[in-house]
């Protein structure tokens, strides 16, 4: 965390959450842990942004929530992808790849003569 972490881009967090849930239902803490781990904690995803994002996705119907027992046998709220969420994940992944490729290509391009 020594160089200041870049602010996460709008919409990117949603994509990461969907990705985190693509392996099966998990609770908010596990989602947070996965994102920290997968991005080497390079993105500053605070709980203050993660949980509202989770609840908004639930509101949009991309994920559902239900209470269940956690691995240490505590009541935890588990989120799971819905069919709609899975479709969104596919579409947004593809579009993110195209976007990133375009930005990379532009950064490598020589000057116009």
């Amino acid at each position: 965390m020594n160089p200041p972490a870049p602010e996460i881009l709008r919409g990117t967090l949603d994509l990461l959450i969907l990705k985190a849930l693509s392996w099966g239902p998990s609770h908010g803490y596990a989602v947070a842990r996965w994102i920290e781990h997968a991005t080497n904690d390079a993105l500053a995803v605070g709980e203050g942004t993660l949980y509202p994002a989770l609840h908004r996705l639930e509101e949009r119907g991309w994920i559902t929530a239900s209470w269940g027992a956690s691995e240490n046998n505590r009541q935890a709220k588990f989120y799971a992808l819905t069919r709609k969420g899975r479709t969104q994940l596919r579409a947004q992944t593809a579009s993110w790849h195209r976007y990133a490729a375009a930005v990379f290509a532009a950064l490598d391009a020589p000057a116009l003569d």
Partner: protein
């Protein structure tokens, strides 16, 4: 999402607690992880919280999102449940077709009848007249010393009022009469309004194509223009837009069409075409001549601040001025005014209100009936509702379902009722009840629709709710027990409520029936009044002799004589009469009357007499008897001494205990006329109004352009119609001919309005009776169904069918007794 909803409800977690639990879990997991990494617990907790950031803000944000989501879900849930309720309601309606049909029919009849009659009342009485500033428009009338009013003014009087009245902004006149229109297809008779220049502006009368009248077109020699009414333009000219500039001919004058009226544009007097009044020499405020020839309908717009007494005061002042200026013509006469609205609506106000009241009764009966049906069904469903409550349906949920059912019932019933209302309003308009004014303004209005729909919804809502509240108020177990024992609960109290309702509706129906019975009796009495003539066996035909061939009286008389001669030669014809009026066709002209040599009568006695022309065989043709003296003969010619016949009423009025035959009378001319005979009274207006004094002059001495031809036969009168028409056509193909009608029609027409009201009220009473009979049936069959077990036990214990019947009938008679007493 639906799964989560169920879940949340089962654990009863609130959004707030939900959010707290989730955050707590997160923080706890983080602490645990930090401890595992070797942090001391105190520091781990601190680190975990710091890492989380602003905990409170996040919590608030989550709560807002969750509240919002819950509202959306509640709405979705409400709609889902509404769909369920509706589905259930429809299934219920299907399962009890008898109840459904009875309730719907009741609602439909109540709403339908109410809307239709309210539409009539609304169109005729409540809506404002189709004129600009209608509430300031008045009709100027003549006021006679005995207090009677006459609707028309003479041309010079009109000019005087127009010149001197201070309380009116504008005064205009209409001269409405029948004219023959030539030059557009068949010759035809049309209602024409000759109007003064500013009338269209004053009334807001709109022209669709072309122009209105110009001020100079009232001047003599410049009035040969015509504006077609919209209906006439459609009917005769096929709505041809190129009609402007074409011309029509009437009475030998050619009129250029300069405009077509907008659809719906109308005057206080019915007209199909509009002409400018030609202000000839008779339109002169300074002369006495022509002051007693009244033919103008005068409409005036009062100044904004003038009240009715100011209007009357000013008109009286004017009248007095004219009395002193023209004593020989205006002695004793003044003017008065009447709001135009009253003039156009006339005396239909009371019968319409009576009908409206009757319809209100029917609506009440219908409401009571629906209430009763709903109450009975509510009781019958007591068990079902209790079971549903027992398995977890909340009170609000049950009530909502019952409301949905009632509303559905109310809506469908209301919709059916509107259908009935639309159809019966059309039927009412098509029936053209006699001379009901402003019938074209009758429409199914949105006010009516909203009012009646609201009422039917309210009724079904209130009385659908009563059982719901009742069921949900009771102890559930009690309801279940009761439902095991009998088909329903509600008990004694409910039964009493229903009985009271039935008693009330029966009482209303009885009131209506009594009213209808009274009307029917007076209607029968009306039809049994001796008309004084024989309506059967004769036909009548109106002929108007207009045009260049009929410039003077001799020409008209010659043609009428030819006509009588030709028709009389037709086979089976027994008498041919010609007169200026028909029996029951109104009073016709009213003239002053005095007996020569008699002392002048007191001023408050009306010295007017209705005057008509009649050919020698007129009375034979209508079938009225000669009581004394002689009829007219062919010897009574224009040049021979003037003679008259009096009816019995006139003879009694002016010659009490004297013999009028041979006496001389004075009327509308200084030359005395000799009374040669007395004829029986013939009804003039309606069978309800006794004949008034009437005087007949020979048609030869009182010749008019419009004649009524009456042909009496000893065969089928209508078979004669075409033969008679052929004779007229043979004499002059240009004469406009009305359809020949049986003379008996004048009688049925004269009672058309009472018949209309009577049949409507009878219909309402019948509907009310049927409805309340349904109500009694409902209550009785319900109470019998409730007692079926009891009856079964009694019969098993040896009661005979007759005993059971007696007990059931006893209850019914008890109800009837209550009705009698209430």
């Amino acid at each position: 999402m639906a799964r989560w909803t169920r879940f949340r409800k089962m654990f009863g977690l609130e959004p707030k607690g939900d959010v707290d639990a989730e955050i707590d879990f997160h923080v706890e997991m983080r602490i645990r992880e930090l401890i595992e990494d070797g942090e001391p617990p105190e520091r781990a907790r601190l680190l975990a919280l710091r890492r989380f950031g602003d905990l409170d803000r996040t919590r608030q944000e989550l709560i807002v999102i969750n509240e919002r989501r819950r509202r959306h879900m509640d709405r979705a849930e409400f709609l889902t449940e509404l769909k369920q309720d509706l589905g259930y309601a429809i299934r219920m309606m299907r399962r009890t077709p008898g109840f459904t049909a009875a309730a719907l029919l009741t609602l439909a009849l109540g709403v339908g009848a109410n809307s239709a009659i309210f539409s009539v009342v609304n169109g005729v009485l409540l809506q404002s007249l189709p004129f600009k500033d209608a509430e300031r428009l008045h009709l100027v009338q003549m006021l006679y010393p005995d207090g009677t009013r006459y609707t028309s003014l003479s041309a010079p009087d009109f000019m005087s009022v127009r010149a001197d009245a201070r309380v009116f902004e504008q005064i205009e006149a209409i001269d409405q009469r029948n004219v023959t229109m030539l030059g557009a297809g068949e010759p035809r008779e049309i209602d024409a309004a000759f109007v003064s220049g500013g009338l269209f502006d004053m009334l807001g009368f709109k022209i669709a194509t072309g122009r209105g009248f110009r001020p100079e077109e009232n001047k003599p020699g410049q009035s040969q223009v015509v504006i077609l009414g919209h209906g006439l333009w459609q009917r005769v000219f096929g709505g041809d837009p190129g009609v402007l500039g074409k011309s029509i001919t009437s009475a030998g004058i050619t009129y250029t069409i300069v405009g077509v009226a907008a659809p719906g544009a109308a005057l206080p007097e019915a007209a199909e075409a509009y002409f400018p009044i030609e202000f000839g020499p008779i339109y002169d405020a300074t002369t006495a001549q022509g002051r007693r020839g009244e033919f103008l309908t005068v409409v005036a717009r009062a100044k904004a601040d003038a009240n009715e007494s100011a209007l009357d005061g000013d008109l009286k002042r004017l009248g007095t001025q004219l009395q002193s200026a023209f004593p020989e013509s205006n002695d004793g006469l003044t003017f008065t005014s009447k709001p135009l609205r009253e003039f156009m609506i006339g005396d239909v106000r009371r019968p319409l209100y009576v009908l409206f009241g009757a319809v209100g009764f029917v609506l009440l009966v219908a409401c009571v009936n629906v209430a009763n049906l709903l109450l009975a069904r509510g009781s019958a469903r007591h068990g079902e509702l209790s079971v549903r409550a027992a398995v977890g349906a909340g009170r609000g949920r049950l009530i909502r379902q019952l409301i949905t059912e009632s509303m559905l019932l109310g809506l469908i019933g209301g919709a059916l009722g509107l259908g009935i209302a639309y159809w019966s309003t059309q039927a009412l308009i098509a029936a053209r009840p006699a001379d009901l004014p402003r019938i074209d303004d009758i429409r199914l209005s949105s006010t009516v629709v909203i009012f009646t729909l609201g009422l039917s919804l309210l009724t079904s809502l209130i009385f659908g709710l009563v059982p719901a509240l009742q069921v949900t108020n009771q102890h559930l177990l009690l309801g279940l027990q009761e439902s095991g024992r009998s088909s329903g609960g509600g008990g004694r109290k409910m039964h009493r409520l229903r009985s009271t309702l039935v008693v009330a509706e029966m009482a209303l129906a009885v009131i209506l029936l009594t009213g209808a019975g009274l009307l029917i009796r007076s209607f029968i009495a009306l039809t049994q009044v001796d008309p004084g003539f024989q309506p059967g066996g004769a036909i009548t035909l109106r002929v108007t002799l207009q045009g260049a061939e009929y410039a003077n009286g001799d020409q008209i008389r010659n043609r009428v004589d030819q006509l009588i001669t030709r028709v009389r030669e037709l086979p089976q014809v027994t008498a041919v009469g010609v007169g200026s009026i028909l029996p029951l066709g109104g009073l016709g002209a009213l003239n002053d009357f005095a007996v020569e040599g008699a002392p002048p009568p007191p001023p408050e006695v009306n010295q007017e007499i209705a005057v008509a022309g009649a050919s020698p065989d007129y009375f034979k043709a209508i079938g009225a008897p000669l009581l004394r003296g002689r009829m007219f003969s062919d010897l009574d010619q224009p040049k021979s001494p003037p003679v008259v016949l009096l009816n019995e009423a006139a003879a009694k009025k002016w010659f009490p205990n004297q013999d009028p035959i041979g006496r001389k009378v004075l009327s509308s001319s200084p030359i005395p006329k000799e009374v040669v005979g007395i004829v029986g009274d013939v009804l003039q207006r309606t069978p309800g109004e006794p004949a008034v004094a009437q005087m007949f002059a020979p048609y030869a001495q009182r010749t008019g352009r419009t004649i009524r031809l009456i042909v009496r036969t000893n065969g089928d009168p209508m078979a004669m119609a075409s033969a008679v028409r052929e004779q007229v056509r043979a004499l002059d193909p240009n004469l406009p001919l009305a359809e020949a009608t049986p003379l008996a029609d004048v009688v049925s027409r004269s009672v058309a309005r009472p018949r209309f009201y009577t049949s409507l009220l009878t219909l309402f009473a019948a509907v009310a009776l049927i409805l309340s009979a349904t109500g009694i049936f409902g209550v009785m069959s319900y109470s019998v169904a409730q007692q079926s077990k009891e009856i079964g036990i009694r019969m098993a214990l040896g009661a005979r069918a007759a005993d059971v019947l007696r007990s059931v009938l006893g209850r019914a008679v008890g109800l009837a007794d209550q009705i009698n007493r209430s």
